[in-house]
Amino acid sequence: MHEWSLACELVRQAETEARRRNALRVHAVKASVGVLTGVVPELLQRAYEMARQGTCLEEAPLEIEVEAIRARCPRCGREVTLHSPALVCPDCSALGLEVLGGDGIFLASLELEVAETAGGNHV
């Protein structure tokens, strides 16, 4: 259940960002989860629903996009996309692939309701 720790961090960062941008409301939260993190999207979703209680995210559904692993093969040099965490080149079966992406978990974006700036000059 490392999903719980991650959901708490997701909520913490989303709240901080919404406040920094003077958001009136948070409509939606999007997270990106790499396959190599082993995070189970369904568990993250459930943990998020608990972690957001009492925060400005109570009305904001979470959308999770799963990011495949991107890796470079040391033998054939090809950049490959993998949908499971076995780091084997699908073309030449070489091991020890260099991971380029799909090993992280991110707060991807927030959909916010913001006030239009007062008329006149702004930078």
């Binding site: 259940m1 490392h2 719980w4 720790s5 991650l6 961090e9 997701l10 960062q13 960002e17 941008r21 009136l24 409509h27 997270a31 990106s32 190599l36 993190t37 082993g38 995070v39 040391p74 499971s84 965490p85 076995a86 780091l87 084997v88 091991l95 020890g96 692939l97 090993d103 992280g104 978990i105 991110f106 707060l107 991807a108 974006s109 927030l110 959909e111 916010l112 309701e113 913001v114 006030a115 239009e116 700036t117 007062a118 008329g119 006149g120 000059n121 702004h122 930078v123």
Partner: protein
């Protein structure tokens, strides 16, 4: 587009004051694209831990496995063999009790117990806090015994120099393929309780092969902390890594 109000003025207008009519009472939706790493704070703390341990010439080794694989027994066996060469210290991580810490304390080693309560893994901040309670100037080799769990600890860099995964022969030889994420930061893999091999159907070559598929440069060992078979090459590995750290 104007970044402040999204009014569609061209890119150049962003850095200039510009006139346009907005109704100050009105609101609109906007998407804030962020891509903030949720593990960034842990990774920064882990880098700090690593640098701090390095300053003290300490080789830190994170041990990860399911409960009952023999992490504490391995620490006891390493200590018994290396006590005249390296000063060992231990950070113990458990959900509850300080039973493991008591075993280590009985050996006369400096030990700090982290009791995580409901958290299923150690993180870099917990290790940082524990380091304040240990006499770092009199430790050469620091074991960090993670919470017994074959999933969650894999995602959290603790700032150790070596991360090892242990699998006992009684757990079954199919576990590597089932729990690949634990190998993310791993540098070595130990099959433990090898003295029990005659009594269980466990093909030791299979998990080692599968672990190397996950991580090509993984060092693999097969050993028994009880009978001491296979301990020699693991001890040599630790000594060589410690020597390389302080060279």
């Amino acid at each position: 587009m104007c970044e402040t109000c999204g009014c569609g003025l061209p890119e150049e207008a962003k850095n200039h004051a510009h006139e346009h009519d907005h109704d100050p009472g009105r609101t609109h939706r906007e998407e804030a694209v962020l891509y903030r790493n949720l593990l960034a704070a842990n990774e920064a703390q882990a880098r700090e831990n690593r640098a701090h341990l390095m300053e003290h010439g300490i080789l830190a080794v994170n041990l990860m496995s399911s409960p009952g694989t023999g992490k504490t027994s391995l620490i006891e066996a390493v200590t018994a063999s290396l006590s005249d060469q390296l000063r060992v210290g231990v950070i113990e991580g458990d959900l509850a009790t300080d039973r493991d810490a008591e075993r280590i304390r009985a050996l006369g080693l400096p030990v700090w117990q982290i009791t995580t309560g409901s958290t299923c893994h150690l993180d870099a901040a917990m290790v940082h806090e524990a380091l304040h309670h240990l006499p770092l100037e009199s430790i050469d080799l620091l074991f960090v015994e993670n919470v017994g769990n074959l999933v969650c600890p894999g995602l959290y860099d603790l700032g150790c120099h070596l991360n090892g995964v242990l699998l006992s022969v009684t757990e079954g030889d199919d576990k590597v393929a089932k729990y690949p994420v634990i190998f993310k930061y791993a540098q070595f893999f130990c099959i433990t309780k090898s003295d029990l091999l005659p009594y269980v159907s466990f093909d030791a070559a299979k998990p080692q092969r599968e672990a190397r598929i996950l991580k090509g440069d993984l060092k693999t060992f097969s050993l028994s902390a009880k009978s001491r078979e296979g301990m020699g090459s693991f001890l040599n590995y630790l000594l060589a890594e410690r020597a390389a750290l302080t060279a």
